[in-house]
Amino acid sequence: MINVKHLQKSFGNNTVLRDISATVEKGEVVVIIGPSGSGKTTFLRCLNVLETPDGGSIRIGEEEVQFSQKITKRDIARLRTQTGMVFQHHNLFPHFTALENVMEGLITVQKQNREEARRKAESYLHKVGLADKMNLYPFQLSGGQQQRVGIARALALEPKVMLFDEPTSALDPELVQEVLKVMRELAQEGMTMVVVTHEMKFARHIASRVIFMDGGVIVEEGAPADVLETPQEERTKRFLSLIQ
């Protein structure tokens, strides 16, 4: 489903991703962990082309883009439709209600008619357990509810892959579960997902694979039990001891 080859990205002199290659199969849930500044967010943003990589290639679904050559807006758009993104801070549109947030992409981008869009948006909000909050504005929702609207907004566009960047790390502890629950259900339905998170329980129980990144490279990857319980690399061990 995803095939990343030799991905490179620098900000000025700061090389953030050094030759990352990775594959995600259809239906896999890949969890990425790693210390702050290791490039996890940058990697996800490259998959979504919010950052343009300096080199390498990304294939998602049927769409492939080579970043060694000049890329066009069209290339970016092609790749972007394949993925849905959920941010650490929800980034909901504050001037739209929950429903309007979900409908926006359907109407403006996919040019669906309003009625159809509304029906679809309602069904996705229902799915994330917010059937009764559809007409509230983001500021009227709790952090967990906002994140769930963000998930519904991404899902409604029916992407092939969902990308999550620390979706629960800005939440109060008791709100974390309601978001993880939605993500768990998605995983069980067979959605392909790439998740950056510090929730070790989620990684252990839901992930099909865990990737540990540090300093812009993939240091170690494998089944959650292997990486999290019996890490091979020194750096992985050190990191895991710090956060547990």
Binding site: H89, F93, H95, V109, Y137, F139
Partner: protein, 233 residues
């Protein structure tokens, strides 16, 4: 530095004030309704359009566009409006462009609003968190769609208070239009005062009318702000 004289307010003086105010109120109000207010409103609308374009040019990737926008803003903000109107109305004819008073005034004031407001709009666009752009891009929007649907509506809300300052300044600046033959309110005041020689009274009255207009505007602004703030806590 200052001296105290014995001339103070007397009952006669007060009744003179009342009388003159009565006689000059209507003509001045007429000037306000037929010229000051339309001139202000039309220029403001055109100015805002120009300002939005300029703000986007200043934020664009093209360095040519950025430089044009910067130059325009710098020239307009750096020179007195009086001189600008003078050049538009009395200078352009010598290069073959003759514009009628009212359109010339509209052009002059719109250019002015365009420059001042562009800085405000630029700042408001920049004040919208980058995450809003990114969220718009991730759901597949183009730059244009993101701008129209997501960024400008939010930037609009942010810029209402500073724009209302520009607007209030504009109301008063329109008094310069008399220079290029538009009989706006302050011109009326001058006409009246030159006839009865009561400059202080008539000008104060004009000030009062300006103040009323601005006061009404500030109420409109507050309403507008409140309406636009319904979606923030």
């Amino acid at each position: 530095m200052y001296a105290v004289s014995n001339t103070v307010f007397t009952p006669e003086k007060l009744s003179l004030w009342v009388e003159i105010s009565k006689a000059s109120f209507m003509p001045m109000l007429e000037g306000a309704l037929y010229h000051t207010i339309p001139l202000t409103l039309i220029s403001f609308v055109f100015g805002l359009i120009l300002a939005t374009g300029t703000a986007l040019a200043r934020l664009s990737n093209s360095s040519l566009l950025r430089w044009i926008a910067r130059g325009y803003v710098s020239i307009i903000r750096g020179t007195p409006l009086l001189v600008q109107l003078f050049i538009i109305f009395y200078g352009l004819p010598s290069v073959g462009v003759t514009i009628d008073p009212f359109p010339a005034a509209i052009i002059g004031f719109s250019l002015s609003v365009g420059a001042y407001a562009s800085e405000i709009i630029r700042a408001s666009i920049l004040s919208i968190p980058k995450g809003q752009w990114e969220a718009a891009y991730t759901i597949g929007m183009t730059y244009r769609q993101a701008l129209q649907r997501i960024i400008l509506p939010q930037a609009g809300r942010v810029s209402v208070p500073p724009l209302s300052n520009t607007f209030i300044s504009l109301v008063k600046d329109t008094s310069l239009a008399s220079l290029i033959l538009v009989t706006e309110m302050f011109r009326k005041a001058q006409e009246i005062a030159s006839m009865n020689y009561e400059f202080l009274i008539v000008y104060s009255l004009a000030g009062l009318i300006y103040w009323i207009i601005c006061f009404v505007l500030s109420i409109v602004q507050q309403r507008l702000e409140k309406r636009m703030e319904r979606y923030v806590s």
